[in-house]
């Protein structure tokens, strides 16, 4: 529709983004990078919402609105997360997730 790009392409992209995000979250040791991975996931969701809305249900705006809210909340989440990461940095002097394992078993 949009310049002849079929919906599948968007969805493939969003799915790839999602899994990159998930893998990044699982693999990367840096807390900030992990946060970024989460942002990837959220953005893949945004793509989904927008694309579904645009392609399948063009007569309403639910998807668009949803993605807007997601963007907003992602920002809030990121700010709190970064605040906590700073807190961790103060304690550990690094932000390597492997070191955050005092609580276990």
């Amino acid at each position: 529709m949009i310049q002849g790009i079929p919906i599948e392409h968007f969805l493939v992209v969003s799915t790839i983004m999602f899994f990159i995000g998930v893998c990044g979250f699982i693999i990367r040791r840096n807390l900030i990078t992990m946060l970024m991975a989460v942002e990837l996931i959220l953005n893949s969701v945004n793509i989904n919402f927008v694309v579904f809305n645009r392609y399948l249900y063009p007569d309403q705006l639910q998807g668009h609105f949803f993605s807007l809210f997601i963007v907003g909340i992602a920002a809030a989440e990121a700010s709190v997360a970064i605040a906590l990461i700073i807190n961790i940095y103060r304690k550990l002097k690094n932000i390597d997730v492997e070191n955050v394992n005092e609580l276990k078993f």
Binding site: I26, V97, F105
Partner: protein, 638 residues
């Protein structure tokens, strides 16, 4: 049928005495208990005599004696027909037993006042005696087999209590335990027998069971288990019960040990009354056994015969006078059983039955006498062993005389009671089974021998060095002796053939000289041998014993039956059944339950690595879990 209502008092009196002396006895002087007991028993004795008199001689009995039930109440109801009742049943054998039990019990009570004088637990002794008497009387007058079983058990317990009277003596405790457990084992047979019988007939009632021509056995023949008919099973099992109490081989082992009890107890329980309960039981069930389970009757006969021989042989070698008497009791009980085993039903055919009851009666008198005499001796000498005795005739004339009478009676010397009853048994055996007759004939000789071996070693022979000179027992002890001696002599003249018969109808019986004369002869032979060997102290017996070697040792050790039983109980039951079960329970069953807990706990430690504290591990589990669930859902549920 009224007029016999007072008979209920006969068992009630000892019960009341038991309760009163048992609960309050501690508060009184000991002698009070003794007096109450004796007076009470005297009353019961009188009542029994009156009952017997009016029952046997109080009317016309041409068509047989009636069975009278003056009192009966329901005690426990299982089903519509299976009801345990408590009641009083009067028929010839029960009336006869009433007399036997109350007589002996009365005598023993009286005797015990002297014998137990100054013992600790004097009241307890009398309480137990009353308990026993109550139980025994209840057993005798039972109207149904379950009532009999109930009192049977009570008798067992009172026997336990009395054997273990000297409860601080380990041997007495062991003996009482043994007696109880062995008879208990036999009672299991009795119980199962009752169960089978009640299953087949749907009744416990003696009246219905033993009625001639009854139809309650209907299709009983068709019921069988392992190829043997149900009633044969039932009767054999019931006989096992009887055999336990009457100490038939191989359940005899408890009786010799039971002599650990005070001697009056031995006289009352282990000679005259309780041990004949088995015989009484078989007699009570006689019509059923005879008609419905002839195979069981055969067993009765052979077991009786074997026991009498076996016990007589052992008796020869024993030195403890009470044990000699105990084995003699075994032997005599074997006689009675054998007589029942060879008996027919009705009239002359039922001679064995009559003879058995007759012998039961006379045996009760002379065996009680023997025991009480032995008690008197022990009282004087303070030892049970023959080698501690000798020449006592000078010191204890009354005891000596009465003991001699008893020995003569048991040896079957003519015109004493034992002669008549034993003779009838031999006749009955001769008619039915030559083998058993032969056995009994030999036993008659052996009996005479071992009794006089005992008699001579105790009253003749060399004077021992006594700690203090033996003296005659007090009057309270010798009166019973004299009374029983009197009974031993004359009870043979009671017209038993007319009174106590298998079908309750009297018959005439003649002395069978073909049997009587040889048996007299063999009796005298036995006495003569004993005279030669034991009248004067000599080393012949010892030499003889040596020459028999292993056989003697085996006999002296009662053919090692105690050891076999010990092996079975200690080794097999304790070590090879109970211990493994206890182990199995602790380690396998419980171990399994505990194991579940342990495995859970182990698992809990094993999986702790899952909660590694690594955020990324969690995330991986999160995603992997979600994907696994998605796959599970999409592939399996859609």
């Amino acid at each position: 049928m009224t007029g016999y209502n007072y008979t209920i008092l006969i068992p009630i009196i000892p019960l009341v005495i038991f309760l009163v002396t048992g609960l309050l006895g501690m508060k009184w002087k000991p002698i009070v208990s003794g007096l109450i007991g004796t007076v009470g028993m005297g009353t019961a004795w009188l009542l029994s005599i009156i009952t017997a008199g009016s029952y046997f001689f109080g009317g016309h009995h041409a068509e047989g004696f009636q069975t009278i039930i003056p009192f009966e109440m329901t005690w426990l109801r299982f089903t519509e027909t299976l009801i345990i009742k408590m009641g009083v049943l009067l028929d010839p054998i029960s009336v006869m037993m009433l007399v036997v039990v109350t007589t002996i019990s009365f005598m023993v009570h009286l005797y015990s006042i002297g014998y137990m004088h100054g013992e600790k637990g004097f009241q307890r002794f009398f309480a137990f005696l009353s308990l026993f008497t109550f139980s025994m009387l209840g057993l005798v007058i039972a109207t149904n087999i379950f009532q009999m079983y109930i009192f049977w058990e009570l008798v067992g317990v009172s026997s336990f209590l009395l054997i273990g009277f000297y409860y601080q003596k380990p041997s007495a405790v062991a003996a009482s335990k043994k007696a109880f457990i062995v008879t208990r084992f036999a009672d299991l047979g009795f119980l199962v027998g009752i169960l089978i019988l009640s299953y087949v007939t749907k009744t416990f009632d003696f009246g219905q069971l033993t009625q001639p021509g009854t139809t309650i056995f209907g299709n009983a023949a068709s019921l069988s288990f392992m190829g043997v008919s149900a009633l044969t099973w039932a009767m054999t099992l019931i006989f096992i019960g009887g055999a336990g109490k009457s100490a038939m081989f191989p359940l005899h082992i408890w009786l010799p040990d039971a002599m650990e009890g005070p001697t009056p107890v031995s006289a009352l329980i282990h000679a005259a009354t309780m041990v004949v309960a088995g015989v009484y039981l078989v007699a009570r069930m006689f019509p059923v056994i005879h008609f419905q389970a002839p195979a069981a009757q055969e067993i009765v006969g052979y077991v009786g015969g074997f026991t009498s021989l076996f016990a007589a042989i052992i008796a020869i070698t024993q030195y403890d006078i009470k044990r000699v008497l105990a084995f003699s009791t075994l032997s005599q009980l074997g006689y009675m059983m054998l007589a029942l085993g060879v008996s027919g039903y009705g009239g002359e055919e039922g001679l064995g039955y009559m003879a058995s009851m007759f012998h039961l009666f006379t045996h009760a008198m002379f065996k009680a006498l023997l025991f009480l005499g032995a008690g008197s001796i022990i009282h004087a000498v303070h030892s049970n062993y023959m080698y501690d005795m000798g020449g006592l005739r000078k010191y204890m004339p009354i005891t000596h005389a009465t003991f001699l009478i008893a020995c003569l009676t048991i040896a079957g010397v003519p015109f004493l009671s034992g002669f008549f009853s034993k003779d009838e048994i031999l006749v009955a055996a001769l008619h039915h089974n030559k083998l058993l007759f032969a056995v009994e004939f030999i036993v008659a000789g052996l009996t005479a021998f071992y009794m006089f071996r005992l008699y001579f070693s105790v009253f003749w022979g060399k004077d021992r060095h006594y700690h203090h000179t033996p003296h005659e027992s007090p009057l309270v002890m010798t009166i019973p002796l004299m009374f029983l001696a009197f009974a031993s002599i004359f009870s043979g003249y009671l017209p038993f053939t007319e009174l106590v018969t298998s079908d309750k109808i009297g018959f005439e019986s003649e002395m069978n000289y073909m049997v009587a004369i040889p048996s007299i002869l063999i009796g005298f032979l036995g006495i003569a041998v004993a005279w030669v060997l034991y009248k004067k102290e000599s080393d012949i017996p010892a030499k003889l014993a040596k020459s028999w070697g292993i056989l003697y040792t085996a006999t002296y050790n009662k053919f090692y039956f105690d050891e076999i039983y010990l092996f079975v109980t200690r080794k097999i039951i304790f070590n090879y059944i109970s211990r493994p079960i206890a182990w199995f329970d602790r380690h396998i069953v419980d171990g399994f339950m505990v194991g579940i807990g342990l495995v859970t706990e182990k698992a809990s430690y094993k999986i702790k690595g899952m909660q590694s504290g690594q955020l990324q591990h969690y995330a991986f589990a999160f995603v992997a879990g979600a994907l696994a669930l998605a796959l599970f859902m999409i592939y399996y549920l859609m």
